[in-house]
């Protein structure tokens, strides 16, 4: 009897835990969606800001986020995939592998603001890029590198060993096997990882704080070396700068909704693809 009671209470507690988690996370999404939908419209997405950030749209910030995200992924994708191929396909002495694996793990744990400091000291100051799209892309690219490596590694490891053996048995060289057999088979998995990392990059604020972002641009950025508006930074700036807190908060709700929708949609798509893909291998 007592045993049964203990079990019921315990399970009730666990139910409470997941309830709490879902309540808080759900209410964040609910609040931002309700308030955000009041302001988001076609004009809000396609117009430039007007009247000292109190009216108009946020198109430059959306475009800026797009530039930064695409640039960062273009930088880290080749590096990350190459690193993953080395780790899974060319397994040499385990000492080297251990050092690389350790540095990937530790790089993944570095706080995002520290990446910002690094970008400021190296890309902005030392390389002389200034506060620019280029400096922001490179900083964000380094930030997502560990994520792209581990996703690619997971995808490559999931390719059955028999694929490699079959290719080598037909007389293909090691590189030919990687290029024509292993890589195509792993491609969907790698792409999933890339999509997930896009979601991460789009939402990052701290790394671009001193390397790329600006509160206000007249129009759209015209070169790799211009400052850029970005959605996450724009939310921060709207809440902490400017002289019309009421109107700015409304616009910030709109930006938060767009950002949230963007990031959640991207990661949902990636996770759905992965789920499907994992099943395909299991069967």
């Amino acid at each position: 009897m007592k045993k049964q009671l203990g079990q019921n209470m315990g399970f009730g507690l666990l139910f409470l835990c997941i309830g709490t988690a879902i309540f808080f996370l759900g209410s964040i999404i609910y609040f931002i969606a309700i308030r955000g939908f009041q302001i988001v419209s076609w004009d809000f997405i396609t117009q430039v800001p007007r009247e000292a950030m109190t009216a108009g749209g946020v198109a430059p910030a959306i475009v800026g986020t797009l530039y930064l995200t695409v640039g960062a992924v273009l930088f880290s994708l080749p590096l990350g995939v190459a690193c993953a191929i080395y780790l899974t396909e060319y397994s040499p002495k385990s000492f080297v592998i251990n050092i690389i694996r350790m540095s990937i793990n530790n790089l993944a744990g570095v706080p995002s603001v520290v990446f910002g400091l690094f970008g400021l000291a190296i890309f902005v100051k030392l390389f002389g890029f200034g506060v620019s799209i280029l400096a922001g892309c490179l900083t964000l690219g380094i930030l997502v590198l560990p994520q792209i490596i581990s996703a690619s590694q997971e995808a490559l490891l999931a390719v059955p060993q028999s694929y490699r053996e079959a290719s080598l048995a037909l007389g293909a060289t090691h590189w030919q096997t990687i290029r024509s057999t292993v890589f195509p088979a792993a491609l969907p998995g790698i792409l999933t990882g890339v999509i997930l990392s896009i979601g991460r990059v789009a939402g990052e604020t701290a790394p671009i704080l001193f390397t790329a972002a600006t509160f206000y641009n007249r129009g759209f950025p015209d070169s790799l070396f211009s400052e850029v508006m970005a959605l996450p930074y724009h939310i921060y700036a709207l809440m902490t700068e400017g002289t019309h807190p009421q109107e700015q908060t409304q616009i910030a709700y709109g930006c938060a909704l767009i950002l949230l929708a963007l990031v959640l949609a991207i990661s949902a798509v990636a996770i759905a693809i992965r789920q499907k893909h994992r099943k395909a291998y299991e069967q």
Partner: protein, 294 residues
């Protein structure tokens, strides 16, 4: 001909594989080079244990104890929230949720882990802070507690997701053996499954803590930003990360202030590095214990 090409490709991949190492070393060197002048000018002891942070006063004070304590309080509060809720949710998903519910909950938690920190900061600022201010009748709603709560909510999906992975690694036979000797499901869960995955779960807790210490935008927006040594959870604090983010814009390049912000970055970097190494060691032991190899 083939052999040369094979060698070239292998060399190329070897080179590129070292990129992460190069970046990690680059970050470490940058922080050391830009941060060390402070230890010379202010002194390591006075910098780390100095009780006041007035970088723009004349004469300035560069003591980061209030900032370290700010980070510590906020992180501790976040852990008190995210560990029970995150681990409890993981246990629920692993033990109580049916196959279909599990197939829905796991990806949802994973998607939620991707909500950008700026969104938590914004939500904390416009919804939670005014609510807490009214509820507890405080002069301001932007306090260490608000920061803890937001960070705790934010870290919950991470803790839950990694803990659930650890739980699902526990072999079925453990569970079956326990049920076979007459334990009920709750006893099996708390005395067999949970202890077997305890080190895996502690990895998730340490990674969650590491994330909370290093989190910037959320604490920047909701902790109020007062650089004083906190006495209760219900007063504004200024954690290390938000100090860097808030002051880098106004710090003159090459000044002691500028260097001190890099030195704070260095200390943060070292703290998270220690967390990650501990997590790595524990998870390696865990995998060995359950015979999972690497």
């Amino acid at each position: 001909m083939y052999r040369i090409r094979e060698r070239i490709y292998k060399g190329l991949f070897t080179l590129l594989a070292f990129a992460s190492l190069i970046f990690l070393v680059g970050i470490t060197l940058t922080l050391f080079i830009e941060g060390l002048p402070v230890f010379k000018e202010v002194g390591l002891f006075d910098f780390v244990f100095g009780k006041s942070w007035y970088p723009t006063y004349e004469p300035p004070d560069f003591g980061i104890l209030p900032l370290i304590l700010g980070s510590l309080w906020v992180t501790a509060g976040a852990v008190l929230f995210c560990v029970p809720v995150g681990v409890g949710s993981a246990l629920f998903i692993n033990e109580l949720a049916g196959k279909r519910l599990k197939a829905v909950l796991k990806p949802i938690i994973e998607v939620l882990a991707g909500i950008p920190s700026i969104v938590y900061g914004f939500f904390g600022m416009v919804v939670i802070a005014p609510f807490i201010q009214r509820l507890l009748n405080l002069p301001v709603g932007l306090t260490a507690f608000t920061g803890s709560l937001m960070l705790g909510i934010m870290a919950t999906p991470t803790v839950c997701s990694i803990s659930e992975d650890a739980l699902s690694f526990v072999p079925r036979s453990f569970r079956e053996a326990s049920l076979a000797v007459g334990a009920n499901r709750w006893q099996t869960l708390t005395r067999v499954v949970f202890p077997a995955s305890a080190s895996g779960i502690s990895t998730s807790i340490i990674l969650g803590m590491s994330r909370a210490v290093g989190e910037t935008m959320t604490v920047l927006m909701v902790t109020g930003g007062a650089a004083v040594i906190p006495h209760t959870l219900f007063q504004p604090v200024r954690p290390m990360t938000s100090t860097i983010a808030a002051e880098m814009g106004e710090a003159v390049m090459g000044s002691t202030h500028y260097h001190s912000l890099f030195a704070i970055g260095l200390i943060l970097f070292v703290i998270t590095l220690i967390f990650n190494v501990i997590a790595e060691l524990i998870s390696r032991r865990f995998r060995k214990k359950l015979g999972l190899g690497r």
